[in-house]
């Protein structure tokens, strides 16, 4: 079996939670093997991350370079290609960074690419069997991947439960010299914070959240009426923002706001993993959707199969009556 590497995302000297999830995924590929962590970065932050990972990985490959101080995927890709052995298996979180880095990395390493794996059902030296989702999570698929010349696999955040691993006392191996000269044809300039909106949805204990099922902009008022009756705020999923029916500041999800309400009413929301990633604190979740197979019903506490355009006004009227 080829050697497995876990690419570690980190910020301000602290490794991301995905590090432990990649380690768990690696064990599903090859239980006998101890995967190596790979860290790219610069300075004391990079050193701190490598040091902390010694507790959970037997080997930590450090690639320190001033140009890697910010994780520019174009530069990280060059560094990994120069440092990692041919034929290896590289695990990367399926995040905005992972999708930026990984497809091109698989080409440069001449290896197979499987994006957004939600499960791994075993592997031998030639092939691996994985599970992915398609159609926004409405169906899953088994995938067979030829790993005879290695693989780059991105791992769905939250899909692999971290293992309670025996404490390791790993070694940090400095691979910085092997990274070579890194040249950027894409240059990072700055990060801009999102504009703040009129309503701060993170402050509300109850959210009436709408998705594509709201149909058109004028129907947003139906959700607002219910929210008013409940003392709640209206939030939404990505398609509502894409259609310009609500401001970006109302969007719940990995690319929007992270909310922690007590009660979350998901109205006409299919339930993509990117949306669910923005809901924390295990709220009481009610899903209302006219598609009885919508993935949101897998995660909600209570489900109602109904057209929200008819159901929401009835609910609002009844609450007002009482």
């Amino acid at each position: 079996m080829a050697r497995i590497f876990a690419y570690i995302i980190h910020k301000s000297g602290v490794a991301d939670d995905s590090a432990a999830e990649l380690a768990a995924a690696a064990k599903k590929i090859d239980a006998a093997q101890s995967p190596a962590a790979v860290v790219t970065g610069w300075g004391t932050d990079c050193d701190a991350v490598c040091e902390s990972l010694r507790a959970s990985f037997d080997e930590v490959w450090k690639i320190a370079n001033e140009s890697l101080a910010y994780p520019n995927a174009e530069l990280v890709r060059q560094a990994l290609k120069n440092v990692l052995p041919a034929g290896c298996i590289v695990l990367v979180p399926h995040s905005h960074f992972g999708t930026d880095l990984s497809p091109g990395l698989s080409i440069q390493m001449n290896s197979a690419y499987v994006p957004d794996a939600t499960d791994i059902e075993g592997a031998d030296g030639i092939a691996m069997r994985l599970v992915r989702q398609e159609f926004g999570g409405q169906v899953s698929a088994h995938v067979r991947c030829d790993i005879s010349s290695g693989a780059v696999i991105t791992i769905r955040p939250g899909a692999f439960k971290p293992l309670a691993s025996a404490p390791a006392s790993g070694v940090v191996v400095d691979k910085s010299a092997a990274a070579g000269a890194l040249t950027a044809r894409r240059r990072y300039l700055e990060t801009m914070a999102p504009e703040t909106g009129d309503v701060d949805i993170t402050k509300y204990p109850v959210l009436v959240s709408i998705g594509r099922g709201i149909g058109e902009q004028e129907n947003v008022a139906l959700a607002q009426d219910l929210a008013d009756a409940l003392g709640a705020a209206v939030s939404c999923s990505r398609p509502v923002v894409d259609a310009k029916w609500m401001e970006k500041s109302r969007q719940v999800g990995s690319s929007g706001q992270t909310v922690k309400p007590k009660v979350y009413l998901a109205c006409g929301i299919s339930g993509s993993f990117q949306h669910l990633a923005g809901i924390k604190g295990n709220p009481f979740m009610v899903a209302i959707n006219k598609n009885p197979k919508a993935p949101i019903f897998r995660v909600a506490d209570v489900g109602i199969t109904a057209d929200i355009l008819e159901f929401l006004p009835e609910l609002t009227a009844r609450i007002r009556e009482k």
């Binding site: 995927a73 994006p115 010349s149 240059r187 801009m192 894409d242 690319s255 609910l315």
Partner: protein
């Protein structure tokens, strides 16, 4: 600026509920309604807005068969000057790398300053743009949600976590995957489609592109989908049943119990 947009025809999930077939190994394909992959409309719109500002033309390309011409015509009705079909029996069963290989061969036959893709298609893979860039040795950026044209380069922003924008400059030529919401794709009416109905669509095959079964198609694919399935529901939601009035009352009781209603 000469811009190439890579598009794809997919089952339209706003028109269909995706269900399993009776054999339980594939999705039910009878009566599926197909349309252009929605994110690709944002890529075409962005390309059109760029050429409106700076000049140039927009070409839309897809890998597929005769059925896929309809999405090329739709994007031409939006304003793309040319649609191109890359089609060969040997391309069938290609994985992402195979598709990117076919597209890269086409790109090398022409001259494009900028290549755009939609952020992802129905398979959620988000892979072809990044692979295409690597095959061409062009720089790449994903999740792009704004583009400003500068001399020999672009200033772009990428959508990263928490609604933050990562601002980069990127040299031309390059490949970008375009995030939905970057613009408002223009409406296409039946009249627009009719106007381009008889425009010829150049079609290029494997021998012309120099792509044979060793580089694309099922035999070359390192990644193969074996089946579709619906995983067991697990705990799942408790479904409220009854008349609408009964469901509303049950829900109000639950909301009161859980602190959603005082």
């Amino acid at each position: 600026m000469e811009i190439l947009v890579c598009a794809r025809r997919v089952p339209d999930t706003s028109e269909n509920e995706i269900e399993m077939n009776s054999a339980g190994n594939d999705i039910e394909r009878d009566d599926l309604v197909y349309s252009v992959n929605e994110p690709d409309n944002y890529a075409v719109e962005e390309a059109l807005e760029i050429v409106e500002r700076t000049g140039g033309t927009v070409t839309v390309v897809t890998v597929g068969g005769d059925d896929d011409e309809e999405i090329l015509r739709r994007e031409m009705a939006m304003g793309a000057k040319q649609g191109v079909l890359l089609s060969d029996d040997a391309f069938e069963g290609s994985d992402g790398r195979g598709i990117a290989t076919i597209l890269a061969a086409f790109v090398k036959k022409g001259h494009y300053d900028l290549i755009l893709t939609g952020v992802q298609a129905e398979d959620g893979a988000a892979q072809v743009g990044g692979m295409l860039a690597a095959l061409l040795d062009y720089p790449f950026a994903s999740l792009v949600n704004s583009i400003e044209v500068q001399q020999g380069k672009l200033k772009i922003s990428r959508e990263i976590e928490g609604g933050n924008k990562e601002i980069n400059e990127i040299d031309l030529p390059c490949v970008l995957s375009i995030q939905t919401g970057i613009n408002e794709p223009r409406y296409v009416g039946m009249r627009g489609i009719r106007q381009v109905a008889s425009v010829p669509i150049p079609t290029f095959d494997g021998p012309y592109l120099g792509v044979n079964g060793d580089k694309a198609g099922l035999a070359a694919a390192k990644v193969k989908r074996l089946d579709y399935f619906v995983p067991p529901l697990g705990k799942g939601a408790e479904m409220l049943e009854g008349s609408t009035a009964e469901i509303v009352d049950k829900l109000i009781d639950l909301l009161k119990a859980k602190g959603g209603l005082n």
